[in-house]
């Protein structure tokens, strides 16, 4: 049973019916799902959640569907990894990774938003699913559209990693690569959306889509033993995830599922595309868009973040901050995570790990605080970033002498 009352403008609070719309007709502020929290208080308990499935659908009552989910039934409830080795390396004694690099079905947190968006698009009666994507969203939309048996038409900026392209085409998706940046793709999609009656998951389905991200925050709190962390370090592109994690924690508090929320929320970006962290550092509420993003962290290279204003507000209201790292620091952080925890994340995960290390060095994150690093994507998808980082493996003949020669000279087993 649905607990959605409709949509409400985040800015002027005008209310709208539950439809595939995403901006306030009056002030152009973003629309959000308006839930009946009084009704939810009566039915959502720790016990009701714990008896649900081991997926994001254990929080189904808090997600904006009117009918049971149609796709992505196994999405979410990914591991919260206690990262003792990485913590030791960067001086944090209570460090965790929320590891969506193993999310189902396409190995990124985008599976959460897409399972909600496509299920909602089906409720609305759409037969074609579309999106503007930096790659991970494309992968998930392609996979879950295939699962739903619908058509898809997906738009990406040119120059994406092979894993993101093959990882979209394999599902039979129609994929169009646009000469330009993600922001160019996004603008084109909004114009296409005005002419074609498709479900653009991150445009007209956006209010519902975005709330899929809340499950990432719910899981962090539940997996910490119904507690919110002292710090959470979040990758920022469009700034949606950072606001939804914050919203998730506060909904849990409102519903009495956690006692308090004193979490500092930190925004993490790549220096080559850092409009949000730059504004935070400058103490400004206004985003100066980045015209030509230039970073290996392509999945978060959005120069004109739609929710950037809210990302800045979330970091500042929570007492957090924003920090960014160079491409070299990203690669070194990806290696550090892999070598200490055995987790191979994509470049965006290098950003959050690298930024956490920096924040610990700056003293903004204290050694004995509980800190969660968001790992939102899988390293196998962005292998290009690591080309030339490692020497090729030694090739030998299948003879014991050949091995002993190499062993004596260079191996340290």
């Amino acid at each position: 049973m649905s607990h959605v009352k409709g949509l409400i403008c985040k800015e002027c609070k005008r209310e709208y019916a539950e439809e595939p719309i995403h901006v306030c007709e009056f002030c152009f502020g973003p629309l959000e799902v308006n839930y009946d929290y009084e009704a939810l208080k009566k039915i959502v308990t720790r016990k009701s959640i714990e008896s649900g499935p081991p997926s994001m659908w254990r929080y189904e009552a808090l997600l904006p569907l009117d009918e049971p989910p149609k796709v992505g039934l196994h999405t979410g409830f990914t591991p919260l990894v206690r990262a003792k080795n990485l913590g030791k390396a960067i001086g944090l004694n209570h460090l965790y990774l929320k590891n969506d690099s193993v999310n189902h079905p396409t190995f990124s947190f985008k599976d959460r938003v897409v399972s909600v968006a496509i299920s909602k698009a089906i409720e609305f009666g759409f037969d074609t699913i579309s999106c503007a994507s930096t790659g991970n969203l494309a992968n998930s939309v392609a996979a879950q559209t295939a699962e739903a048996g619908l058509k898809s038409c997906i738009f990406i900026p040119d120059g994406l990693e092979a894993g993101k392209i093959i990882g979209t085409l394999i599902y039979g998706a129609q994929l169009i690569s646009i000469r330009g940046s993600y922001d160019d793709v996004n603008r084109l999609c909004s114009e296409i959306g005005a002419k074609h009656n498709w479900a653009f998951v991150n445009i007209n389905i956006r209010p519902y889509y975005g709330d899929g991200s809340k499950s990432y925050g719910y899981e962090i709190a539940e997996q910490l033993g119904w507690k919110t962390p002292d710090n959470v370090v979040v990758p920022v592109a469009g700034s949606s995830l950072i606001t939804k994690i914050w919203k998730a924690f506060h909904e849990f508090k409102m519903l009495g599922l956690v006692d308090k929320v004193q979490t500092k929320v930190f925004a993490a970006q790549a220096t080559g595309c850092s409009p949000v962290t730059t504004a935070i550092k400058n103490g400004s509420e206004n985003i100066i868009p980045v015209k030509k993003p230039n970073t290996i962290a392509k999945s978060i290279a959005i120069g004109n973040p739609a929710d950037g204003y809210y990302g800045i507000k979330t970091a500042s209201i929570s007492g957090g901050y924003g920090e960014d790292v160079s491409d070299e620091e990203i690669i070194s952080a990806m290696e550090l995570l892999a070598k200490t925890e055995g987790v191979f994340t994509e470049t965006a995960g290098g950003v959050t790990v690298g930024v956490t290390k920096k924040l610990a060095q700056q003293g903004r994150i204290k050694p004995d605080e509980v800190t969660v690093i968001c790992i939102t994507g899988n390293g196998l998808k962005t292998q290009e970033a690591l080309t030339n980082c490692f020497p090729a493996p030694t090739v030998i003949d299948p003879k014991i002498d050949s091995f002993e020669e190499v062993f004596a000279n260079s191996l340290t087993v």
Binding site: V23, L137, R187, S190, R206, G238, P289, I302
Partner: protein
Amino acid sequence: MSVKVRVPTPLMKLTNNQSEVTAEGTTISEILNNLESQFAGIKDRICDENGTPRRFINIYLNEEDIRFLDGESTAVKDGDEISIIPAIAGGA
């Protein structure tokens, strides 16, 4: 100076359901004022009380965000195309 202006869906109620209209002016500001004279009430929707474009509106001149040009003072010439587009979420 006559330019083509693409109007977002939420404003089409004010433009007799046209997604593209023509407007006259030599700068973005003048274009917005000209739109207002044709379609009463439209400027209030695009701009805040100070007359500057709202936070959640992006204006493009020939595919270029006017924030990368001279903002509302950006000069326009005959045959230019302007898009008024709501900000949209995407990425992580």
